[in-house]
């Protein structure tokens, strides 16, 4: 998989992975946000489950 947006270092500016593929960048951001939200959801489920188990 070629993730580099540059061919060489001469005159390079933005060089982070997928910088030339906005759709991939957008997807990475969405997945990151979704994982944060999902973790909070799982956190709440764990709390509720632990409280029920405790009685």
């Amino acid at each position: 998989m070629n993730t580099a947006p540059i061919d060489g270092w001469e005159g390079a500016e933005v060089y982070y992975t997928f910088a030339d593929k906005p759709a991939v960048i957008g997807l990475l951001i969405l997945v990151g946000v979704a994982l944060c939200v999902y973790t909070i959801y799982r956190m709440a489920k764990h709390e509720t489950h632990a409280a029920k188990r405790h009685g």
Binding site: V14, Y15, Y16, P22, C36, I40, H54
Partner: protein, 445 residues
């Protein structure tokens, strides 16, 4: 030596280019280490809050701090930095804000931008500090999930909107009213303190904190020495925090408002502020917990005008702040029945307002680069904005969480302790090992 004019010009150009590179790298290095030093604030809050909890809640309190930090790093990347760049004019979006969008060329490795990443990092640590201010007040009864939502809202949205308004060279509080708050007492401490007050009203006191007749029971933490070390770490980290409040340029240091300053000015007044607050709080309480909280009060009291105060004046302002904060906390806890477990509303919220007003009185007349000179009314009105900006979302969001049952743990969990019910680890496992049972036994046994 027969150098021609073009040779000399070429050498000068090369030297200027090299100097420019060194300056840029120095700037990066400076904020890198400020950011690293600010991590001590989080180590401090971690120790401070775990120590202030009863042993049955020690780990839950610590996990809460770790979660706040971990969630704020990505969420501040996704929205926080953009908010700072977007809203200096109020609620209209600035054109410059596109550089803060998470998909912009500036928000990742870029050989032509050596500033965005390092400023994002420093501001992220400010954000995590802001959320940590709330976390100590709500220990021993808040739900982890509810707390994380509140921390993200405070750290990645609310305070940074306040920073854009009042801690930015073109923030409208400065350009319109002349606000001066170089050490971020308003956008960080006042906003976080009053956000916390809004949350505490909905969260309610810990079980057993108040008797039926309204009288108060003390709930001491399980490890005061740990809390004291934590508070000292926070004070240490504030040198990174306040260093990060200064702009490094090729021509010297500037405040966030682009007025000239020196690190020496900050050094004088930060140290005098810390000492003033500690002694003032000691005089009022004799309590080591309040002495070290007084050190924070001292920093915050002098923070708005660290750049211009005479150090002897900063000492007195912070001394008075250190005397006032414990009394404000007593009023909140005893009279208003707000169970603030660590006094954050008084230490951060009320002291932030106090510091802003003191700057209006004692730094009045100093010129701003943009907007009117520093003045008392501008400081008071700006403080009111920070109070409202903190309180309204804190109260509103915690009210919603309460409606959905996401704010507070159940009574059974609170009685048993959050560690026992929710955490798959033990803070002090030796306490349950018979060999460590030091209760007296008779020889016959």
């Amino acid at each position: 030596m027969n150098e021609t004019t073009p040779d000399i010009e070429a050498k000068i150009a090369a030297l200027e280019a090299a100097l420019g590179t060194v300056n840029t790298m120095n700037s990066e290095i400076f904020y890198w280490w400020c950011t690293a030093l600010m991590l001590a604030i989080h180590a401090g809050f971690l120790a401070y809050e775990m120590g202030a909890s009863r042993s049955k809640n020690a780990l839950a309190s610590g996990i809460k701090n770790l979660l706040a930090f971990a969630f704020i790093v990505p969420t501040f990347y996704y929205v926080g930095w953009w908010i700072y760049l977007a809203f200096p004019a109020g609620l209209t979006v600035s054109e410059a804000s596109s550089a803060g969008l998470p998909w912009s060329a500036n928000m990742g490795p870029n050989l032509t931008d050596q500033a965005s990443g390092i400023f994002y990092a420093a501001f992220t640590l400010f954000a995590a500090t802001t959320a940590s201010i709330m976390s100590g007040s709500v220990i021993e009864r808040i739900r982890m999930s509810g707390f994380t939502i509140l921390a993200v809202c405070l750290g990645s949205v609310v305070w940074i909107l306040g920073a854009s308004w009042g801690w930015h060279p073109s923030g409208w509080l400065t350009t319109t009213w002349g606000l001066h708050d170089v050490g971020a007492a308003g956008c960080v401490h006042t906003v976080a303190g009053f956000f916390t007050l809004g949350v505490l009203i909905n969260l309610g006191p810990r079980m057993g904190r108040y008797n039926a007749d309204g009288s108060l029971n003390e709930i001491p933490g399980h490890n005061m020495p740990m809390s004291l070390i934590g508070l000292m770490l926070i004070v240490m980290g504030f040198f990174g925090f306040l260093g990060g409040c200064i702009i490094y340029t090729a021509d010297g240091w500037l405040t966030i408002y682009n007025t000239p300053v020196t690190l020496s000015a900050f050094a004088f007044n930060t140290l005098m502020g810390v000492a003033g607050g500690m002694i003032g709080a000691y005089l009022m309480t004799r309590d080591p917990f309040w002495m070290m909280s007084g050190a924070l009060v001292g920093v915050i009291s002098s923070a708005p005008a660290l750049d211009v105060y005479y150090p002897g004046l900063a000492f007195l302002i912070s001394f008075l702040g250190g005397m006032i904060a414990p009394k404000v906390n007593d009023y909140l806890v005893v009279k208003l029945k707000i169970d603030d477990a660590v006094g954050a509303v008084a230490v951060h919220g009320v002291t932030g307002v106090y510091g802003l007003i003191m700057a209006g009185i004692f730094a009045s007349g100093y010129a701003n680069i943009e907007g009117p000179e520093i003045n008392l009314m501008g400081q008071i009105m700006s403080a009111a904005v920070f109070v409202v900006l903190g309180f309204v979302p804190g109260f509103g969001l915690s009210y919603l969480l309460k409606m959905f049952g996401l704010l507070r743990v159940g009574q059974g969990v609170e009685l048993a302790g959050l560690d026992r019910v929710e955490i798959p680890a033990k803070a002090y496992p030796e306490a349950a090992v018979p060999a460590f049972d030091l209760s007296p036994v008779s020889p016959a046994e």
